[in-house]
Symmetry: C2
Subunit: 117 residues, 2 copies
DNA sequence: TGTCATGTATTATATATAGTACACATTAAG
DNA sequence: CTTAATGTGTACTATATATAATACATGACA
């Protein structure tokens, strides 16, 4: 699919330069999958793993969870739940935001954080 | 799962009061599934159908697509795609909006529509 | 009263998802 | 030099997803 595999492989290899515990086998063990499976994931031989496994991987490699999920072609289930609770409102909001530049979205996030409602 | 089945059954039966074309069989034919399958969906005997089938159903029954997808436990793939393109930004936005009251979100949608950036 | 339409029960199935298990060749380390 | 660790090939599997096909009992209707 995407370059999910390439991404985590290069990230893992970067980390390994300074820390031997980032061998494929040791990462696999920590995130509780078989080494052969992680190998296939990194080479793009299989589709990206489940949300749960992707999250463990993000934690282990120190990556942003939402970004890694996105690379895996997924959207975090907690976000989905928020949307599903008020589908019209959020669908509308998100579609409107589609074309908005980053800074506009950031401004809104800041406004909301500062409790401006 | 949820009351997806109940919901569409009652909606369909309401429509049928004024239009005989809303029998289970005829709806099934229009949305291109087997009557037996639609029957099972309505009775909650199986999980809600795929996104594609749910959308056809929404169109046929004149329901809001995002709302019906939400009842099916899903989030529209076009929304997911928007989020995946800027995962950090949107994850942040949506989580911040989680607690916001409807009117606050509506206000933002309006502001964005009016091009306030 | 027979036929037509309705909803449903049962059985089957193709494809996708998410991995495991094990063996093997190569490389690195003591 | 040999032991231990590394990455990978191959084969297999369990569960879920999303439906199809057929047959059947009941009720409407003409």
């Amino acid at each position: 699919m995407t370059h999910f595999g390439k991404h985590i492989r290069s990230r893992r290899e970067d980390l390994r330069k300074h820390d031997r515990r980032f061998s494929l086998r040791q990462v696999a063990q920590r995130i509780e999958v078989e080494p052969a499976y992680l190998s296939k994931i990194e080479r793009g031989d299989v589709a990206p793993p489940s949300e749960a496994t992707t999250l463990k991987l993000a934690r282990d490699l120190g990556e942003d969870q939402d970004v890694l999920l996105a690379l895996a072609g997924k959207v975090s289930s907690d976000l989905q739940e928020i949307i599903r609770k008020r589908p019209k409102l959020f669908a509308d909001l998100i579609r409107k935001m589609k074309e908005a530049p980053d800074h506009a979205i950031l401004r809104i996030v800041r406004e909301v954080r500062d409790g401006e409602w």
